[in-house]
Assembly symmetry: C2
Homo-oligomer: 198 residues x 2
DNA sequence: TCGATTATACCACAAATGTGTACTATTTAT
DNA sequence: ATAAATAGTACACATTTGTGGTATAATCGA
């Protein structure tokens, strides 16, 4: 993760862009399993061999796009006021949603795919790392306990967000945020406003 | 999900078994992307064409094996005393762990793969459905709230279990269970034994 | 047990894949 | 401006894939 990444050759970004665009267009027309590498190469107007310079197969494009989204989210987390003004991480999702929406033609198909579980995992990991880094200094307890807590809450958070994103989005993210806050900080009984014991 | 499934032809189960075994062996030898269908057909000693009777590609085997595990877990949930004696669902994981362990040669590689995110999703869905069915009658609150709660807690639960499973498993599942219980029912501040406000 | 049904084998073929080599074009760095 | 480095093209080839069609063998149901 060092900053030693040299400026990429213009041709590289051009062809990769072309490949991703071609892929996105094809994905809007047919199932991913019916997309052949020749299809992509033809539409992107590159030599088929060139494709293999960057991707071993069609699914590796998906992988990279997922990473693109994750990177965007990472940038949101670090560049935003998230650091100085730690509220519910869900507020960061507000911005992620905006990002995704502006490129929805492109990401829409991806997000509705089954494989968005992978993207979810990546985002969970980002949130865990970021939150740990911000919170740990003020929470001097057993690291294992914190790990468990972060695993639990961040996975839950992303799951809720994911369902919201793929639903009609009737509720505002603020409402969701409020719900999760109560759930996290007061526990299930308070959340359900009733005394239950499992 | 009706019980209308007729008894499967013996030949079918035999060949599918052969395919899965061959796949498992190949997976222990090389990367999944280097496994060709011809490889599997050869090793399973079946005609290549026969493979396509059941799977459209290599990854569909993975899919089915994941479903096998999910089914096993489903059976654990319904057949066990889970229904009459509702404790933490994590106790059901105790049995799942046992199941997986007895077949670890077979499942091991799968579980260490990236794609076990899919398995996690399936298990989350099972737990959500099962828990809702058991809990809802006693929790007459807004269904949307319950949905959110189930999404959050079950995803969190599975995430914690998953990390435990892929770790050294130093802690007992009972300890994990206890931690999650506190987290769920008392909230984060109580869990961390400190007064924090985000 | 026997006829009907279904799974599998065998062969064949067009399409797609993955990779190698030699040649050309573009970009980068000096 | 030019040389070195890198990316892309064109073509070629062996392999794998997906899918036909037909024949044979195993299984099921009565």
């Amino acid at each position: 993760m060092s900053k030693t990444e040299k400026a990429p050759d213009r041709r590289v970004v051009k062809t990769k862009r072309a490949i991703k665009n071609a892929f996105a267009r094809l994905l809007s027309e047919k199932d991913i399993n019916d997309i052949t590498i020749s299809d992509i190469a033809d539409l992107a107007d590159i030599n088929r061999k060139t494709f293999y310079n960057y991707y071993a197969g069609v699914y590796e494009i998906v992988d990279e796009i997922e990473n693109d989204i994750a990177d965007a989210f990472d940038r949101v987390l670090t560049e935003s006021d998230f650091k100085d003004n730690l509220k519910t991480p869900l507020q960061a999702f507000e911005k992620l949603t905006a990002i995704i929406n502006t490129d929805l033609d492109f990401f829409g198909y991806l997000l509705s795919m089954d494989s968005n579980a992978n993207l979810a995992v990546k985002i969970v990991n980002l949130l865990k790392a970021k939150t740990r880094e911000l919170v740990i200094p003020y929470v001097p307890v057993d690291e294992k306990k914190v790990d468990l807590m972060l695993d639990f809450t961040m996975s839950g958070l992303v799951a809720v967000y994911q369902r919201w994103f793929n639903s009609d989005r009737r509720e505002s993210l603020d409402e969701i945020s409020e719900n999760i806050n109560v759930l996290c900080f007061k526990g299930i009984p308070a959340y359900l406003e009733m005394d239950i014991k499992f």
